[in-house]
């Protein structure tokens, strides 16, 4: 009995000592995080090199200089873009990251910028909340807007989320950058710009008309096309070409709303059931009719082979069934508001009669490795040829329900933005597909018969703060430094004026979802200093910024 007591005592004592050690250690950890009174840690702004985008290193330098002016030691660190992604998204090893979140049509629905960018669970390897923000109230809103199938109610949630996101400021939206595009007005007309795509949009592809020439529109871009396999594609530039050849069930209209496309009508039966009715008489380019069977096959195929781009959205799908020849019923596991724009508005309808034999009857074991050399879809353009590294030629599919007004499009790859600008000036190239260097646009503006201008965009340059590293772990600090950022200088000097100062993560161009009360902060160093002072930060004699004591 006594022995037992002794034992118990020893155990208690050991536990007490361990507990004490733990307490001491954890307080030490807290101290190490805050370092009261110490000089604020020096930091780097990671970004891409000028080869990839001349704007980024310049902007990073300008901002670093501004931060230095309040006594905080910050340097720009431009390195290879792939390493940016590796360090930030994969390893979370960075202080600040200057990046452009481009205006892909997938990002018009607020889910990406509200949920993916700010939900605490997205702070994971490959997740988009690389800032590591974790605010329970934002988490709640992010989840509920995702489940709210009623659009006007969802809008209220998204509005509220924007306010909170601005308040916690895990990133500073620097500038909404315009889509800087150019085209020859003596060769084509009726271009249809779209938010985030400019005149490179699908709506330009099918609506523009040729004024003079051979009926084909030469579209210039400075990046080679990589992949024509709809299952393996994972980058916006590939989708821009594939979407001409393949049809989608819905398409994002120029105003940003998902409109029925291959679908004639649809009905949301209840929050987890969607019924679609296909258009009748649609044909694939080889003459076979498009039916509900192809749609069911497409979705099942993407699930079976885990198509990387769609894997995330497909997780919300329970089952897909056909109802007669043209009807489809989709059953969701849980209500998921972005399902229509981000899955049904993105997935390409594959012809079952072709893809059911892949990979079995071709020389690959995995359809992701299938090159799809001659893509056959049901889209408004048919594939003609793809001369790798040089050009892709598609021609109008006259039997399409929305047949293009031109004979076809030739996508030409230029070695540089400068070469592309020269080709437009000489009339060798009719329009740009994607963004062109703003400074070149200024030169093209002066050329006769060239329209060179910026178009609205919901994409933006942003400065991400790693909110798990001091001093960036302090929301008050983040709020204060946002007032230091020289947005006007950046827009005028670096973007040649083709941008607007950034405030909310949902851009004003995205009219339906943007909360107009969330405005950009003015540049005001005195206010920033006051805010830092109120939060307890102080300056030493050399003017260096210190943590609160």
């Amino acid at each position: 009995m006594r022995k037992q007591n002794e034992h118990r005592q020893i155990i208690f004592q050991t536990l007490a000592v361990l507990l004490g050690l733990l307490l001491v250690m954890s307080s030490a950890a807290v101290l190490a995080g805050g370092k009261p009174g110490a000089k604020v840690d020096a930091m780097k702004i990671l970004t891409a090199t000028a080869t990839m985008d001349p704007v980024r290193p310049e902007a990073a330098r300008v901002i670093a200089a501004a931060f230095q002016s309040i006594g905080w030691d910050v340097k720009a660190n431009p390195i290879d873009y792939n390493q940016n992604i590796q360090k930030v998204l994969m390893e979370h090893d960075y202080d600040m990251w200057l990046v452009m979140l481009s205006g892909a049509s997938l990002r018009i629905d607020p889910n990406i910028f509200i949920y993916k960018k700010h939900f605490s669970g997205q702070y994971k390897k490959g997740g988009w909340n690389w800032e590591g923000l974790s605010v329970p109230e934002i988490d709640r809103l992010a989840l509920s807007q995702q489940k709210e199938m009623d659009v006007s109610k969802r809008k209220q949630l998204v509005y509220k989320a924007q306010e909170l996101i601005k308040h916690y400021q895990s990133m500073s939206v620097l500038a909404y950058v315009q889509m800087t595009n150019a085209y020859r007005s003596d060769r084509i007309k009726n271009v249809v710009p779209m938010m985030g795509e400019g005149i490179g949009s699908f709506w330009t592809d099918i609506n523009m008309e040729v004024i003079q020439g051979d009926g084909y529109v030469r579209t210039g871009i400075n990046a080679p096309l990589k992949n024509m396999n709809p299952l393996a594609a994972k980058d916006h530039l590939e989708f821009m070409e594939l979407r001409m050849i393949y049809d989608r069930l819905f398409r994002i209209a120029p105003n940003g709303k998902a409109e029925p496309w291959a679908v004639k009508s649809y009905k949301i039966v209840d929050p987890t059931t969607i019924e679609l009715t296909l258009r009748k008489g649609m044909k694939f380019h080889d003459g076979v009719e498009v039916t509900a069977d192809d749609v069911k096959f497409t979705i099942d195929y993407h699930i079976r082979w885990k198509a990387p781009f769609f894997i995330d959205s497909l997780r919300h799908l329970e089952s897909v069934e056909t109802v007669g020849k043209y009807g489809i019923r989709l059953k969701l596991k849980d209500p998921y508001a972005p399902f229509i724009p981000n899955l049904l508005g993105a997935i390409f309808i594959l012809p079952k009669h072709i893809w059911q034999d892949i990979p079995d009857k071709v020389d690959v074991s995995d359809p992701l490795n299938y090159a799809n050399e001659k893509p056959i879809g049901s889209g408004p353009f048919k594939f003609e040829y793809w001369d790798r590294g040089r050009e892709l030629k598609v021609s109008a599919f006259k039997e399409h329900f929305s047949a293009p007004k031109v004979d076809g499009i030739i996508r030409v790859v230029y070695g540089s933005h400068d070469a592309m600008a020269a080709a437009i000036e000489k009339g060798e190239c009719d329009r740009t597909r994607y963004i062109m260097k703003p400074s070149l646009l200024m030169d093209l503006k002066k050329v006769k018969n060239v329209v060179a201008q910026g178009y609205p965009n919901h994409g933006f340059y942003t400065l991400s703060y790693h909110t798990r590293r001091p001093p960036l772990d302090d929301p008050a600090f983040r709020r204060a430094i946002d007032y230091v950022i020289p947005r006007q200088l950046m827009i005028e000097a670096i973007l040649s004026g083709f941008g607007e100062p950034g405030g909310s993560v949902i851009a004003p161009a995205n009219k339906f979802w943007h909360n107009p009360t969330v405005k950009p902060n003015p540049e005001d160093i005195n206010k920033a200093r006051q805010m830092l002072k109120d939060a307890g930060y102080w300056w030493d004699k050399q003017g260096k910024l210190h943590y609160p004591k």
Binding site: D80, L89, K226, I311, L368, E391, A422, E428
Partner: protein
């Protein structure tokens, strides 16, 4: 002689094996990840695992290495990560594009370079000697994108004599293979990049030819030839130039090898889809199969040309007799 050639071939293969091994590991040590290239929904963990599986990167590294060596040996170079196409097909296409460009450029360089070098040495310190040296050195020091852009600015943008780039006018299809040389459109596009390449590489063979000519011209047999009363151009071409050519052969074989991979700048200035651009694209997008294959082919080419130069020595220089002791 035969023994020497066999030994040389054996060493060549050993070198290639070494290069292939280094390349394999260097690309994998390089920071970055082939499954993380753009911020896209495909960065999700499940999606990444899926891509690794499709690329065969989920296997242990030594197994990947063994497979890689086997594939290299059997010329089964796998499929590109980014385009899913067979590496071999991508490479053949790009390889020929570069060969067209470099072939034209190198022919020009070698013919003009050796010719000029020969005459320059013969008329040493003359205006041609000094003028050509200065001009050639300027263009060698100026990176090709400077001379290329200048040519484009003047001849294309201003005078509108040549197209701004590409291999042919967009939308014009040209027959494959050698038929391409019969297409006026292609030749028209070839002019400016060829001149750029030629200007950049001209100095090397020209100056080497000049120097080795000078060396040869000091020899007794030249004096003898002159004393025999042979016409000067006969002495210059038949006696001096033939002997001086030897060093040009060595250098040009290496030059050609590097030119095939090293013309990234010319290719990007003129939007020419060749090997150099492919190498840069593949390396920067971590497309291992394409990057490895392009670098191995380039290395193989340089090593092979070196071998050819070594062996051709035996024929060009009668003094080199291998394997047997020679009396001088």
């Amino acid at each position: 002689m035969q023994e020497y050639i066999i030994r040389r071939i054996f060493y060549t293969l050993l070198t290639l094996f070494g290069v292939a091994t280094i390349l394999f590991f260097i690309f994998r040590i390089m920071p970055g990840d082939p499954t993380a290239q753009v911020i896209s929904p495909a960065l999700d963990e499940v999606a990444q695992a899926r891509l690794k599986q499709a690329y065969g990167l989920d296997r242990p590294i030594l197994m990947q290495y063994a497979l890689y060596l086997k594939n290299m040996a059997t010329l089964q170079w796998g499929r590109s990560f980014t385009s899913s196409r067979k590496v071999f097909d991508i490479m053949t296409y790009r390889f020929w594009n570069t060969i067209f460009l470099m072939g034209a450029g190198m022919c020009l360089v070698l013919v003009i370079g050796t010719g000029l070098g020969m005459v320059m040495a013969w008329r040493r310190q003359g205006p041609l000697d000094i003028g050509a040296t200065v001009v050639a050195l300027i263009f060698q020091s100026a990176p090709p994108f400077v001379s290329g852009l200048l040519l484009l600015m003047v001849l294309s943008y201003r005078l509108n004599l040549f197209p701004t780039g590409g291999m042919h006018t967009p939308g014009v299809t040209v027959g494959g293979g050698l038929a391409i040389f019969l297409s006026a459109d292609f030749l028209h596009h070839l002019v400016l990049p060829t001149i750029t390449v030629a200007l950049y590489y001209l100095a090397t063979p020209m100056l080497i030819m000049r120097d080795s000519m000078l060396e040869v011209m000091g020899s007794d047999f030249i004096e003898l030839a002159k004393a025999k009363g042979l016409a000067p151009h006969v002495v210059m071409i038949k006696h001096a130039a033939r002997n001086a050519l030897l060093s040009v052969v060595t250098v040009s074989s290496l030059m050609v090898g590097f030119a095939i991979g090293g013309q990234v700048l010319v290719e990007s200035v003129f939007s020419w889809p060749g090997m150099g651009q492919l190498m840069v694209e593949a390396a920067s997008s971590h497309d291992y199969p394409v990057a490895q294959a392009t670098f191995v082919v380039l290395a193989a080419l340089v090593i092979f040309l070196n071998l050819v130069a070594d062996i051709s020595y035996c024929y060009l220089d009668p003094r080199i007799k291998l394997g047997k002791p020679t009396g001088s």
